[in-house]
């Protein structure tokens, strides 16, 4: 699929960067002229993916988180969040609603929310090597909606 525009950023896995990542993604997506609801969906999905990289990927260190957003042909927004952390042993299981290794502070709903707020979600992970979450959403122009 043809790529029309993109941004890439990298930041340390610190929680203070969660809000920045959401705001950056929303600002980039604005060129597709999304509705308020679609912007909310994008902010939510980014928050879930970035928070996972910050909370789960690096238990003992402050590693790096990469985020790439692309605009693809056909008014598709693609969001990729990548870490080089500990990885997920069983991705299918991790994606089940309420599954969490995070204890009381987590609800195990992150992947469920990402998949219901975006049109597509793919998770690639290797234990000890890291995790890449890729999401897509079609942003129809308001005029056409």
């Amino acid at each position: 699929m043809k790529q029309l525009n993109y941004i890439k950023m990298e930041f340390p896995a610190k929680s203070v960067n969660e809000g920045f990542a959401r705001a950056a993604a929303a600002a980039f997506a604005a060129q597709l002229d999304p509705t308020m609801e679609q912007l909310g969906d994008i902010r939510t999905a980014v928050s879930e993916a970035v928070t996972n990289a910050i909370v789960h990927a690096y238990p003992d260190t402050v590693g790096q988180v990469q985020m790439r957003l692309r605009i693809l042909e056909g008014e598709q927004l693609e969001i990729m969040v990548r870490d080089k952390g500990r990885g997920i042993p069983d991705v299918k299981k991790a994606m089940e609603p309420m599954f969490s290794t995070g204890g009381e502070e987590r609800s195990g709903m992150g992947f469920t929310i990402m998949s219901s707020f975006m049109d597509g979600l793919r998770v690639r992970s290797a234990v000890g090597r890291g995790t890449t979450v890729t999401m897509r959403k079609r942003i129809q122009t308001k005029a056409g909606a």
């Binding site: 929680s15 939510t44 987590r106």
Partner: protein, 106 residues
């Protein structure tokens, strides 16, 4: 984000304002636990009328408040949720555990 509270006749209302994410959740929970301990309310209303954003960290926070209240035989529910926070609440299915009342939709 900010957590403001008011108490009357056994009912504690917590007003959540701003954005509730993982970065904000721990401090919010500390403040809420302290407030609940201070008043030992019968009911706890989590008012989301001025919450502009919430992710799954908010779901965990609400479940925690619900458990805190259950410890003393009390009850918690969510009021005035709208827009993005309401959509996250709906997607999480948390309404099976705790009552959610949405703001009147305009």
């Amino acid at each position: 984000m900010k957590v403001l509270s008011s108490y009357q006749d056994g009912r504690l209302t917590l007003y959540l304002k701003g954005e509730l994410d993982h970065h904000e959740a721990a401090a919010a929970l500390r403040k809420i636990s302290r407030t609940v301990d201070d008043y030992l309310p019968r009911d706890c209303v989590v008012d989301m009328g001025e919450l502009s954003f919430m992710d799954s960290s908010g779901i965990a926070l609400i479940l925690k408040i619900s458990r805190l209240m259950a410890e003393t035989g009390g009850r918690a529910w969510v009021a005035n949720a709208k827009n993005q926070p309401l959509k996250v609440l709906d997607a999480s299915g948390i309404d099976r555990v705790i009552q959610i009342s949405a703001a009147a939709r305009s």
